[in-house]
């Protein structure tokens, strides 16, 4: 249909020429690079760690898919070359549950931000953890709603500034590992984007582990969080992480609160076994129903 060709000419942006020069290129949608993230943003590093982690884990990439929500981190699905979904705000985990339960052979990753997962998606997070659905949730926590212009998030430290808390955040923030742990997640870790290699290893480990795994990735937001709070730019935040993070594997998740510019405790906190949702479901099906 000639109008279709005309349409393609007028509508689609010109493809960026791709060259396979980097080992990561086969896991990234090179036709969409350059990406939209700001200079000084940590999400790019998180994606690098993820891409490396995918390769390190040596899982079947064909059977792996990624779901993202809305927000800056929510754009990750658009840059990763797996079967990828950019869905609604906060419901990525529910979407992923549907994929997993309908086809238990697939490994699903939900890669989204703190606002998407813990605020509007909070309810779905605790339920998926309770059920122990087999998925890996990578939550990039930059303490703010960046895509929409810097509003307060449920992870924004107390007294930090944001556009909707112009006199300082009134509310105490969530402690993501604590919620994940108490809701039943089998693998809980937290790293900053500074600890790229450890983050990569964590991702590789979690990808091979069946059950609900959560990795919180602390990231700078140069455009909003650090600018509004006068903390410098991305590099200054990385220096802060360098001087103020402490690795404590196995630490009780109760003690992992993050205050405004306080020490950040990172590490792998929870690594346990629990029957996954499909394990329990199949057991019920064969034991109870089929009788």
């Amino acid at each position: 249909m000639e109008s279709k060709e005309m349409a393609e000419k007028n509508v689609l942006p010109k493809d960026v020429p791709t060259m396979d020069v980097h080992p990561m290129d086969d896991v990234l949608r090179m036709d969409r690079i350059p990406h939209i993230w700001c200079p000084g943003c940590g999400i790019g590093t998180a994606v690098t760690a993820f891409a490396e982690g995918l390769k390190k884990a040596e899982i079947d990439l064909q059977k792996t898919c990624i779901v993202s929500g809305i927000g800056c981190t929510g754009r990750v699905a658009g840059y990763v070359k797996l079967d990828s979904f950019h869905t609604t705000h906060g419901r990525g985990i529910a979407f992923a549950t549907g994929i997993q339960v309908a086809n238990p052979d697939l490994k699903v990753i939900v890669f989204s931000g703190d606002g998407d997962i813990m605020s509007i998606g909070g309810n779905h997070f605790i339920h998926a953890a309770r059920r122990n659905v087999n998925m890996l949730v990578i939550c990039v926590n930059n303490f703010i709603y960046a895509m929409t212009g810097g509003q307060v998030a449920p992870t924004t430290p107390h007294a930090a500034y944001a556009t909707t808390s112009p006199f300082g955040a009134v509310e105490p923030p969530f402690n993501i590992p604590y919620i994940a742990d108490s809701s039943g997640a089998v693998y809980v870790a937290r790293w900053t984007v500074l600890q790229v290699r450890r983050l990569t290893d964590s991702i590789a480990e979690a990808l091979k582990k069946p059950g609900f795994s959560v990795i919180e990735v602390i990231s700078p937001c140069a455009m909003y969080y650090s600018r509004i709070n006068r903390l410098g730019d991305g590099l200054d935040m990385m220096k802060f992480y360098h001087d103020n993070t402490e690795i404590r594997h196995g630490e009780d998740t109760k003690n992992l609160d993050i205050g405004f510019q306080t020490k950040i405790i990172v590490g792998k906190f929870v690594d346990r076994e629990r029957p996954t949702y499909m394990d329990s479901y199949n057991k019920w099906l064969s034991g109870t129903v089929k009788d």
């Binding site: 005309m6 349409a7 007028n10 809305i70 609604t88 605020s119 909070g122 895509m147 909707t164 112009p166």
Partner: protein, 423 residues
Amino acid sequence: MAFRNSEGLKMKANPRDVRTGTYYMDGDIAAGYGALAAGCRFIGGYPITPSTEAAESFARIAPQSGAVFVQMEDELASVASIMGASWSGVKTMTITSGPGYSLMMEAIGLGAMMEAPFVILNIQRGGPSTGVPTKTGQADMMQSRWGSHGDYEVIAISPDSPQELFDFMIKAFNLAEKYRCPVMVMSDECVGHMSEKVVVPPAEEIELEPRRIYTGPKEEYLPFKPDQDLVPKMVKAGDGYNLYVSGASHDERGYPIIYQKGKNQSDSTARRLVDKIRLNADKIIELHEEKLDDAEVVVVSYGITSRVAVRGIELARKKGIKVGKLRLVTVWPFPDQRISELAAKVKAFVVPEINYGQVVYDVERCSHGEANVVLVPHGGAGVHDPEDILEAIEYAATEKKKIRKVIIRKTRLEKKVFGGGLK
């Protein structure tokens, strides 16, 4: 609270809430100023492009007046929180856009059933689904009327400039208090992000509708016993009335009913909820009409499109076509009667909308086959090309036959993208 008045008399705005002056500001920011001036004391909101600036501007100016902004965890929580705030006695609203608006649908039904006055400001964007967050659209108009389940009526008004965004916030709060129903201010990203002159008048010039409070004996209070105009009087939680409000179909006491012995089963609560607005429609509907006296073609539009239509009408008048403008300030309840009247007089209606046909179907319905109805659609993420509106007016003026369906014009954009057009 300052606005309590059981006689239904008008009150003036509180000078502490009104930032009198002449500004050059964004529509969104003007909306925040308007909300505070109207006496809004609580906003539960959730950030969504392109409406976030309205929430932010309110968050900045609210503490001085003792008003509160809470960023809730999502839109469902936002609208639930404002209904609670409404029952604790304050004027309240929330601010959102397309996807957030879709999440609020269940709660809008609850608000209609509980007759809690509240305002929702929807800064529409390109849709459906996530769509185009940073560009304009007008595709939520039908959703504002029919989005929730069951029968209920809402009031929806559509501003076309930052000045109107300020004024209409006050209008919306007044309508909400008067009719105790959800009031939607259906703006769009273009008006929301447009910077223009906004004049904020002194507080004495701003008239507010106070809440209708019941002041009779406590034992005789029936929360849903309507007045003459079908609107019941309200009280607030904490005043000793032992209030019971629920979303279930209820009787005058507010208690859920399934079967009332000896009474008409089919006249459920929903009947009064719809009559409340339908029978008062003539008092609610506001229209701006221009050049209709000799008009053969009438351009029916709302929001930003009505400003683009002005250009189309200018060009058409220059060519000698007798075209007039009917701007829908109130979109719901729909001005059935006025459209019906005009249909008997004119040849055709031209309806430009930034969607693929929503309000145009109500224009078609009310013209009863007496005038042709021409739609100038637009997918969103931009505004109309006035030339498209001009061409539609030209066609409408020259078409002699009575055509029994909506004539959908192929716009320049559609031709550019799909060659000869889609069909």
